[in-house]
């Protein structure tokens, strides 16, 4: 379709909504003043332009207020040109929030030089058996309450994105719980439940939780024709410890990666879909300062809150790159900026939370930072998904599916991740019989991840005797004899 600007070339500029723009121009022109007849000027009549005087007064009043708070909203916006302090002459390809890698996990593998193994690491299998005795009786109900709180009961009144279900139909505005808010609530609540189960263990006192942990890692181009690569990641939650995690792969397995080959993306390059920018940070950034003791990473929670359609592989690539970047920033700090193959590999665990509903788990091990060469020792990762097998035309087909925490949170209509419709009066909130698709496997996985590098056994003691639930922000404390006695008196 030929467009006006293509037909007119650049000598003409299209002006649409002509009447509206003309009216605006006429109003602006009024500041210039009316056409004054020469006779008045000769007679010496004083003529004042009221609009211009008003404008001058307003400017003068603003000038009195010299002091302005040091907040970004009072500073003029800096553009993307050389005046920006973060401007660099050499352009770079950046991975940041919103980057959707077209080829998904394979592209992330080539970018971060990792070999992916689908399955559960042996450390988690061993821990899963030990955890069974630690779980509460009513952990499922608490999980259900966490889900309902994040999806339905939370009173936040945030503006929801435009609802587009029918092509062309304009829906009114809705307010409620956004996807990001729901995801934040779910992650925090589930993490709090896991910490409760391990509350008798004093080793968890060394663990710290950081929110919005920013990481920035940069790589020089491998060949003169390539471009710089920058990973700018924001981990929603980051659990840290004083000591490093033990390795997930044995040294023999690490050596075997020399023979494995990374997937081929021909005719595409791994830098596809990475924006080319000149405003970026060239320095490595790790979320904690150098002297901080509890800076060793243990687990990161990576959130995916986009309402657009992403394949599972594209979301998994996000988790892989986030975990690689956090470890790379740490390795540069520990071993220097020019390190190649690490003397001791670094490990991290990762949980990918997709809109507070779908979860996948990863265990990443960083062996080398030598990205220029595609051969040699490579990094490794375990990818744990709830895969389903099916027989289609005499062929066994395995599809990767995430662990779904719930599918329906409302008996009436299935919510699409956030509250959209107004509730009808006839619906009873209590008793809770709404959430019947809750999956306890997610809690089990979170407990196994939390238990890594934690010595379970005789150190652990249950905080309270059985039969009595520990204090919990969601439930009120139970009534005791004191309360009953007082009521009788009153």
């Amino acid at each position: 379709m030929v467009h006006f600007s293509g037909v007119l070339r650049t000598r003409h500029r299209a002006v649409y909504h002509y009447k509206r723009q003309w009216r605006l121009l006429v109003e602006k022109q009024k500041l210039g003043g009316p056409i004054v007849p020469q006779a008045y000027l000769d007679a010496g009549v004083k003529i004042i332009n009221a609009a211009a005087e008003q404008k001058e007064l307003e400017n003068a009043i603003e000038g009195h207020f010299d002091w302005k708070p040091d907040h970004p909203m009072f500073r003029p916006a800096v553009g993307d040109g050389p005046e920006n302090p973060r401007y660099n002459e050499i352009p770079a390809r950046i991975f940041r929030r919103g980057t959707q890698l077209a080829e998904g996990l394979e592209q992330a593998q080539v970018l971060t030089k990792t070999v992916v193994v689908k399955g559960v690491p042996p450390v988690w299998e061993y821990a899963a058996n030990q955890i069974k005795s630690l779980r509460f009786e009513d952990e499922d109900e608490r999980g259900r309450r966490c889900v309902m709180q994040s999806v339905r009961w939370d009173p936040s009144d945030l503006e929801l994105p435009k609802r587009v279900m029918k092509y062309g139909h304009l829906y009114p505005k809705y307010w409620g719980i956004t996807l990001q808010k729901a995801n934040d609530l779910i992650c925090q609540n589930l993490l709090r439940l896991t910490e409760l189960t391990f509350s008798g263990n004093p080793q968890i006192l060394t663990r710290h939780l950081a929110k919005n942990a920013l990481v920035n890692v940069t790589y020089e181009p491998a060949r003169p024709t390539d471009s710089r690569i920058v990973f700018n990641c924001n981990n929603a939650l980051m659990l840290t410890d004083t000591q490093q995690l033990p390795a997930f792969f044995t040294p023999e397995q690490v050596n075997l990666t020399k023979e494995t080959k990374l997937p081929s993306l021909y005719p595409l390059k791994p830098t596809l879909n990475l924006d080319e920018v000149q405003v970026y940070d060239w320095e490595t950034a790790y979320p904690f300062l150098e002297g901080f003791k509890h800076a060793m990473p243990h687990t990161i929670f990576v959130q995916h809150n986009s309402a657009e359609e992403w394949t599972l592989a594209q979301k998994q690539s996000k988790a892989l790159i986030h975990s690689h970047a956090t470890l790379a920033a740490l390795a540069r700090r520990l071993y220097g900026a020019d390190v190649g193959v690490l003397p001791r590999p670094l490990s991290i665990q990762c949980v990918l939370a997709d809109r507070g509903r779908h979860f996948t788990f990863y265990a990443y091990q960083l062996n080398t930072l030598d990205m220029a060469d595609q051969e040699g020792v490579k990094n490794q990762a375990w990818v744990d998904t709830d895969s389903s097998t099916a027989v289609v035309d005499d062929v066994i087909v395995t599809t990767d599916l995430p662990y779904t925490l719930f599918s329906l949170a409302d008996q009436m209509e299935g919510l699409m991740g956030y509250q959209m419709y107004t509730e009808k009066q006839s619906v009873q909130r209590y008793p809770i019989r709404l959430l019947n698709t809750y999956n306890p496997a997610v809690m089990e996985k979170l407990l196994t991840l939390y238990a890594t590098h934690l010595h379970l056994g005789h150190h652990h003691q249950q905080q309270q005797p059985q039969g009595q639930r520990p204090a919990d922000g969601l439930n009120p404390p139970p009534l005791t004899e004191k309360h009953v006695a007082r009521r009788a008196v009153a």
């Binding site: 600007s5 000598r11 649409y16 595409l268």
Partner: protein, 372 residues
């Protein structure tokens, strides 16, 4: 003489800065007039230049002279526009014309396509992201007057920028690209495909049997032997064999693929010579085209589009088409079979001379008071 020299300087300046020539032009003339103000004839000092297009009216020139330093110190009412836009406003349509006015319609200055949604801002570099649009309402982009009466309303659409130039295709070798997505585009009848090559992605018009994951080849090379053409590949027209069916064709080298882009359309290669190729377009017009022009092999996708009726008036309104007058116009030239002789071969290899710039003399006083 001094005025003539002034004009010649202006002619040179015009090539440098388009939009300031109006002021400079009139300033020179005002100066000339102010020098000899004794004559009663108002047209005495107006130069009779060959560039004079519009005859100045005598009453327009009968006004007291103003010092141009005073007049042009103030900013103009209008936005920065070029002088040809003033000419357009003067010469353009005074009212809307329909097909019944075929004998009385004046010749258009610019051929405007009936677009319903025009892009608000074209970015400098090519992007794959959808661009924001603005409803045209059938209005002329410069005059603001209604040119097409049946355009208005409709479901809002984003614009996907189709890459018509594809400058990354080399002249000496063949490159391979991957089809990543094939989808509908509300701005056109055919489908649109997302092509990925190395670092970058492009939207192109999809051919009939394009599938996601398909690898297509492209090249601008022209060899002695013709290439075996597979559907979806993009080659120079001189490299394809005679009889190939081709879409998204370029007529002038470097001007972009603008021909045969509607659903089910295709052009056929009829004859080949060293530097030129004769192609039959979908309108059955034959053209002689440079052999280096690009084209994709195969018909455009969605060939059944024209056979499917939209069904309801509401569907037509959703596409931004307003109702037409139900009155039967006898003399519109619509009815009856049209028998015309075949048009001669059109040769796109003859270099066209650039259009001479046309100057328009504008009187200082105008009815609207645009120039102050």
């Amino acid at each position: 003489m001094s005025v003539l020299l002034c004009e010649m300087k202006m002619f040179a300046l015009r090539k440098i800065c388009n939009h300031t020539v109006t002021t400079i032009f009139t300033r020179g003339l005002a100066n000339a007039r102010s020098q000899n103000n004794n004559n009663n004839d108002p047209l005495a000092n107006v130069p009779r230049s060959p560039f004079l297009k519009i005859k100045p009216r005598r009453e327009a020139c009968q006004r007291e002279t103003k010092d141009p330093r005073e007049v042009f110190a103030k900013p103009l009412l209008t936005p920065d526009v070029s002088e040809t836009e003033y000419a357009l406003r003067h010469n353009d349509y005074r009212r809307t014309f329909d097909r019944k006015d075929l004998g009385r319609k004046p010749r258009k200055q610019i051929e405007l396509p009936p677009t319903k949604f025009d892009v608000k801002e074209w970015p400098e570099n090519y992007t794959v992201k959808p661009l924001k649009t603005v409803r045209t309402g059938g209005r002329h982009p410069i005059t603001g007057r209604v040119v097409y009466r049946r355009i208005g309303g409709g479901v809002y659409r984003d614009h996907l920028w189709i890459d018509i130039n594809r400058n990354y295709i080399p002249e000496d070798r063949t490159i391979e690209e991957k089809v990543m997505e094939v989808r509908e585009d509300p701005n056109r009848s055919g489908f649109v495909a997302l092509i990925g090559h190395e670092d970058h992605q492009h939207w192109i018009i999809a051919t009939e049997n394009m599938k996601v994951g398909q690898i297509i080849k492209s090249s601008r090379a022209v060899g002695r032997m013709s290439i075996r053409a597979y559907e979806g590949d993009t080659y120079a027209v001189g490299a394809l064999p005679i009889g190939t069916v081709v879409s998204s064709l370029e007529l002038i080298e470097g001007h972009g693929c603008r021909v045969a882009r509607a659903a089910g359309c295709c052009a056929t290669i009829l004859k080949k010579e060293d530097a030129s190729v004769v192609i039959q377009l979908p309108s059955k017009l034959q053209v002689r085209v440079s052999s280096k022009c690009l084209a994709t092999v195969g018909r455009v996708s969605n060939p059944q589009w024209i056979k499917i009726p939209w069904g309801t008036a509401g569907a037509t309104r959703d596409r931004g088409i307003r109702p037409k007058s139900g009155l039967w116009h006898r003399k519109d030239g619509y009815c009856g079979r049209k028998i015309h002789p075949a048009k001669p071969l059109r040769n796109y290899l003859i270099p066209t001379e650039p259009k001479l710039l046309e100057f328009a003399f504008q009187p200082l006083k105008r009815a609207n008071g645009l120039l102050k």
